[in-house]
């Protein structure tokens, strides 16, 4: 019982309680199922806040640890080890925060096999939280692979017309990367004698050439997940086919697993290799930023546009992270959260209109701001957040990232930051293009079409507004007063930077 009462265990496994309850509810009682799932997710958010209240933000180390020896044979020491520090606390909160929102968004969108959906969704939450909390490589790997499974089903069962292709592609791409990571994990376990991340960090001393190989192996897994250019080809498929809630979680949290992995493992475990790889990563990140933005612009499907924009946004995160200075990394972490909030909100909103019109083709829309003013206004705010308007969350992240990259000693040149800053212009182009073609201009033909089917295109209802409101609060909060968030991150990042300061000087 004590085990379960430890905050991190509780927050990780509480959704399973919801799953258990769901199993005893008849599939026909759809609303009961929805409420139970939502309740579970909300309570879990509460639990994560409780954990936050116990988190000491001035302490750079892992905290609230729940550490038990788990598999201990033949000198192999695998632990059950959950703990949280400044690098992961925000991501944990993001996960517990987005899950109820995503569930709320399915209220009317998912009518088929609701129970299964909710079961998978809550299981997905368990997996994601585990990924962010696990401090033992083996445990991490298990959670990492585990997240694949519910997402695979979410796409495969509730997805769009091309869902099979998308689900399998998603699964195989991700697995292809993670399987290389498994090798690297094993190498570490074999040669360093432990799977515990903090112990490995303390121990260090991996020869530089080996570090590079290990770095690449880990990076393969994470780069696909992020996804970094040119490994992003699964993303648009997965996003376009996934149900709205799936896209929200996919963009909001699952992609962060990749960037988080870079942060937690590649940077912490292989500092020398990270320094060596930084320019290469920066090149890829910059290409991703520009490419993603360019490709987004020419999309005809609004969901695809948002999906490609993720490539661009996550490029910023990678760029900041490998700037290997405080601004870059803290900005990257914050940008992970920002992307979760704004892209999550974008997907939610695309889903809301899709539910009514059943089309995502940008060209058929137009003038929506006139017809659905609340929807239009909220979309505008979210779009501006996504393109990094100062005063909203996106800017704080992007700015610190670019600032960090500009003066990065790891890059040695500001050219990456300069090129990436062009991405900020391109972001304005595609976001405004989307906003203009859908919300401005004369009223599009879809309005007539919907009318033709006997409906009236309606503005957001109360539930939808409630779904979006929490996101908007954070969009403004982080944009105007990000200090509480930076304060959570900063000590851990300072600690993370110690080896890099030693290598790079300063």
């Amino acid at each position: 019982m004590n085990f379960l009462l430890e905050p991190l265990n509780l927050v990780t496994f509480f959704p399973l309680l919801g799953v258990l309850v769901l199993l005893f509810i008849k599939s026909e009682a759809k609303n009961t199922i929805r409420w139970v799932a939502l309740g579970t997710a909300l309570v879990n958010f509460g639990i994560s806040l409780w954990a936050l209240s116990m988190f000491n933000s001035s302490n750079p180390d892992l905290q609230l640890a729940s550490q038990y020896s788990w598999i201990q044979v033949a000198g192999w020491n695998i632990q059950y080890y959950l703990a949280v520090d400044g690098l992961s606390i925000l991501l944990v909160l993001l996960t517990t925060f987005l899950t109820p929102i995503a569930i709320l968004s399915t209220w009317t969108a998912i009518e088929d096999r609701v129970k299964d959906f909710m079961v998978f969704f809550l299981m997905l939450e368990v997996g994601m939280l585990g990924v962010f909390l696990a401090q033992d490589l083996f445990l991490f790997y298990i959670f990492w692979e585990f997240t694949l499974i519910p997402m695979y089903f979410l796409i495969g069962i509730w997805g769009g017309p091309n869902r099979l292709y998308a689900a399998v592609k998603f699964f195989l791409y991700t697995m292809a990367g993670s399987i290389l990571m498994l090798l690297a994990i094993l190498w570490l376990g074999v040669n360093q004698g432990t799977f515990s991340v903090p112990e490995l960090v303390l121990k260090g001393g991996i020869p530089a050439d080996v570090q590079l190989w290990l770095f690449i192996a880990f990076a393969a897994a994470f780069a696909i997940k992020v996804p970094m250019w040119p490994l992003h080809s699964w993303l648009p498929d997965a996003h376009v086919e996934a149900p709205t809630a799936g896209s929200v979680i996919l963009a909001g949290v699952l992609l962060k697993m990749g960037t988080y992995g870079f942060l937690r493992f590649n940077l912490q475990l292989f500092p020398e290799a990270a320094v060596k790889a930084a320019p290469t990563i920066a090149v890829l990140a910059v290409i991703g930023i520009l490419y993603g933005a360019a490709v987004s612009y020419s999309q005809k499907d609004v969901k695809k546009l948002v999906a490609y924009s993720s490539v661009s946004h996550l490029g910023f995160v990678m760029l900041g992270m490998f700037a290997l200075n405080a601004q870059g990394i803290e900005g990257a972490i914050l940008q992970m959260i920002n992307h979760g909030l704004s892209t999550g909100a974008l997907f939610l909103m695309v889903g809301m209109i899709y539910e009514q019109t059943h089309t995502r083709e940008i060209a058929v829309y137009g003038g929506l701001w006139k017809i659905t003013p609340i929807y239009g206004s909220l979309m505008l705010i979210v779009a501006l957040s996504s393109m990094g308007l100062p005063g909203l969350n996106g800017f704080v992240g992007e700015f610190t990232i670019l600032l960090g990259a500009f003066g990065s000693k790891a890059f040695g040149t500001p050219i990456y930051a300069i090129l990436s800053a062009i991405g900020v212009i391109l972001a304005a182009i595609y976001i405004l293009y989307m906003f203009q073609k859908m919300f401005l201009g004369p009223v599009g033909k879809i309005v007539e079409e919907v009318k033709h089917h006997g409906h009236e295109l309606r503005d957001l209802n109360a539930r939808e507004i409630i779904t979006l409101l929490p996101l908007l609060v954070f969009i403004f909060w982080i944009g105007l007063y990000p200090a509480p968030f930076f304060n959570l991150i900063a000590p851990a990042v300072d600690k993370l930077l110690i080896p890099f300061r030693a290598i790079l000087g300063g």
């Binding site: 020419s298 308007l389 003066g407 800053a421 212009i425 201009g441």
Partner: protein, 689 residues
């Protein structure tokens, strides 16, 4: 500079009041009448003005100013950016201008929008306008009162957003009220062009941080003198890119003419009086940096000067009343930028202020003219004189060729417009004269080439304004609508009168010998009053008068008539036969200069600027090129090559799978053969080893 004396602590309210106003309108605006909404907005803006006045008062006692910390913003590593308001003579000057002119325009807009929403058949949008307008005031205040480059940048982008929202206010129409993407295109264009400028700004900020470890004004200026020349040069160039975007300088000015798609109060407030001058403010603010590099000053001054003359040439060829003013604004911004570029900060700021007065006046009066025309159009359509005809053809109330003789229909507006025109043309003793002359005097000493270019621009300014006035208000109505145009109500004309007064007496702010403004700004920037240069003053005045004379010559002596795009020729030809040498000179002038120049202006306006630069280059080369490139990237590369690698991989696995299958042919013999081969291989390997 922590100073909490007197009213300094109130300074954040300069932002909070407008925000409060917009929040009030957002929440309870639905229940209020138009006047109620307008009152809230005006009150919010006026309160900001009061705060600004209080700051000015405090400053007059404590000229060193204050920095008021509200909250910390981005603190990462050694980067520390706060929400800190800066009160010094420069920022308060801007606050006063923005909130003062802003409040007047708010009042005007109540009247203007009341009619505008009715012309567009969407009365629900009234509230939205004032929400945006208040938001703009708030953002502009953030811009001018920020204590660091980054807080300034918040306002910088924020006003860009407001500009976007307000240009695209009638987002579902074009300027003539037809359903179209045209207005929203203009809005988008403005935002994106501004973003290009912001790109430069950001890079400047990055560079400052990494060189000086801060983006705070005081911290940067404290150490900037130690920086290496190349650092200074690059920072200033990056800043210049930002300025070019926001203040519509070459080569980024192209958005501003389009921005006239917004309602006229917007054009007046944002695209003439305040937002577009943010670049001038930025350079002034960065004076300690710019003064360190002569090269930078040279570049900025030259860019400004070129913009001034280039825009002015274009303005001459325009027919739309607001377009002329728009190009004029660009040109005047060029003046300001040139001024601050060459270190004449006081002159630049002075011109900024006077320009805010008279250009706002001109725009609002132009708005009044357009509404007057609309009223006439409405009147005609209503009374069915030629109802059917007017319903079919699209009538452009902003086209000067449709106007003429309006001074009779709209006498108040006419006089107001005249004041603005004279001020802009720089005639003694109007505001524009003093400020423009100060710039020219400084240029004369610093950069002669700039001086000459600017003088040329000043000349053109007077010319195109003259042309406009003659075309709009004089002569006979060239369209029935113009004959039925109606004067605007008091709520619109009253603010204009205030502005007119300011345009007349604004020059008093910095009279030669007194230098009130310079002394005031000296507390903030290291400047010294310039000398009044009689020679320069005489030349410019003379040129302005000459230009007006020329315009009078061309457009007034024999006013245009309906349907005659170029009636001058006929008129001149008529005079040529009646007169001797004089007319010959006239014709020679016309042939050598005026026709050539009119052609040239047309060419610049239509072909170079519009068709080539605006339409072809931006739409075909840049826009189409970008679209083509993205399409190319999206289709063949993304779906083709990248995706195909995995597909090819998958296919080759599938293929080998099929081949492995074929080996498994069901024959026991082949199975045994496989075993045998394995045996041979293993034994062979063991033996050979």
């Amino acid at each position: 500079m922590e100073n909490t004396q007197l009213f300094f602590n109130f300074v954040p309210w300069i932002v909070f009041f407008p925000v409060l106003g917009l929040l009030l309108n957002l929440t309870i605006g639905k229940k209020l009448s138009e006047n109620g909404i307008g009152a809230i907005a005006v009150l919010a803006s006026a309160s900001a003005f009061v705060v600004a006045v209080l700051q000015a008062y405090s400053l007059s006692i404590h000229p060193e100013g204050a920095s008021i910390l509200v909250a910390e913003w981005i603190h990462v590593g050694d980067l520390a950016i706060d929400w800190t308001f800066r009160v010094d003579t420069l920022s308060v000057t801007m606050m006063l201008v923005v909130s003062g002119v802003g409040t007047l325009i708010h009042i005007y807009a109540i009247g203007y929008m009341h009619e505008d929403v009715r012309f567009h058949n969407d009365e629900g949008r009234f509230k939205r306008f004032f929400v945006f307008l208040n938001l703009f005031i708030a953002m502009m205040m953030v811009l001018v009162s920020g204590d660091s480059y980054m807080m300034l940048f918040v306002g910088w982008e924020g006003v860009g957003l407001c500009s976007f929202l307000l240009i695209g206010f009638w987002y579902d129409f074009d300027t003539l009220g037809r359903p179209s993407f045209a207005n929203s295109n203009a809005a988008k264009k403005a935002f994106i062009t501004n973003r290009i400028g912001d790109f430069g700004f950001l890079l400047a900020a990055f560079m400052m941080f990494w060189q000086f470890k801060s983006t705070n004004f005081d911290n940067v200026f404290a150490v900037v003198a130690n920086a290496e020349p190349w650092v200074i040069l690059w920072i200033t160039i990056f800043i210049l890119v930002g300025v070019a975007g926001k203040s519509a300088q070459i080569p980024l000015y192209i958005w501003l003419p389009d921005a006239m798609a917004g309602p006229t109060p917007v054009s007046a407030l944002i695209h003439a009086a305040t937002m577009v001058t943010a670049g001038v403010y930025l350079v002034t603010r960065s004076a300690p940096i710019f003064m360190l590099s002569h090269d930078a000053q040279y570049i900025v001054a030259t860019v400004g000067a070129l913009t001034a003359i280039f825009a002015a040439t274009i303005a001459v060829g325009q027919y739309d009343i607001k377009k002329v003013l728009a190009y004029s604004t660009i040109s005047q911004l060029g003046f300001m930028v040139a001024a601050v570029g060459m270190g004449a900060f006081a002159a630049g700021m002075f011109h900024l202020i006077t320009h805010a007065f008279f250009k706002a006046l001109l725009f609002l009066s132009a708005g009044s003219v357009i509404l007057g025309m609309e009223r006439g159009h409405h009147h005609l359509a209503h009374h069915g004189h030629h109802g059917g005809k007017h319903d079919e053809e699209v009538f452009d109330p902003g086209d000067m060729r449709n106007m003429g003789g309006l001074r009779k229909q709209m006498p108040v507006t006419f006089w107001l417009y005249m004041v603005g025109t004279v001020a802009l043309a720089g005639l003694f003793p109007f505001a524009g004269f003093w400020s423009k002359d100060e710039i020219l005097a400084d240029a004369f000493l610093e950069f002669p080439h700039v001086y000459w270019i600017l003088t040329g621009a000043a000349f053109l300014t007077a010319f195109y304004m003259g042309r406009q006035v003659w075309m709009v208000f004089f002569g006979k109505p060239r369209h029935e609508v113009a004959a039925h145009a109606e004067e605007s109500p008091l709520i619109m004309t009253a603010p204009l009168m205030v502005l007119a007064a300011l345009s007349v007496f604004g020059g008093a702010l910095n009279l030669p010998g007194v230098h009130t403004l310079t002394v005031w700004l000296e507390h903030t920037i290291d400047i010294h009053p310039g000398e009044f240069n009689m020679q320069v003053a005489l030349i410019s005045t003379a040129l302005a008068l000459f230009a007006i004379f020329l315009s009078w010559l061309l457009y007034m002596r024999k006013p245009l008539t309906t349907g005659q795009p170029d009636p001058l020729k006929r008129i001149l030809g008529f005079a040529f036969t009646g007169m001797e040498n004089k007319w010959f000179v006239d014709e020679a002038y016309k042939f050598v200069f005026i026709d050539r120049y009119t052609d040239l202006a047309k060419f610049f306006a239509q072909t170079v600027d519009w068709d080539f630069w605006h339409e072809w280059f931006h739409n075909s080369v840049i826009a189409a090129g970008f679209v083509g490139l993205t399409k190319f990237l999206a289709n063949p590369i993304d779906l083709g090559i990248v995706d195909n690698i995995s597909k090819i991989l998958a296919r080759s696995i599938q293929y080998s799978s099929e081949n492995f299958r074929k080996v498994q042919n069901g024959f026991v013999r082949s199975y045994a053969l496989s075993v045998m081969l394995g045996v041979v291989a293993i034994i062979g390997y063991l033996l050979i080893k």
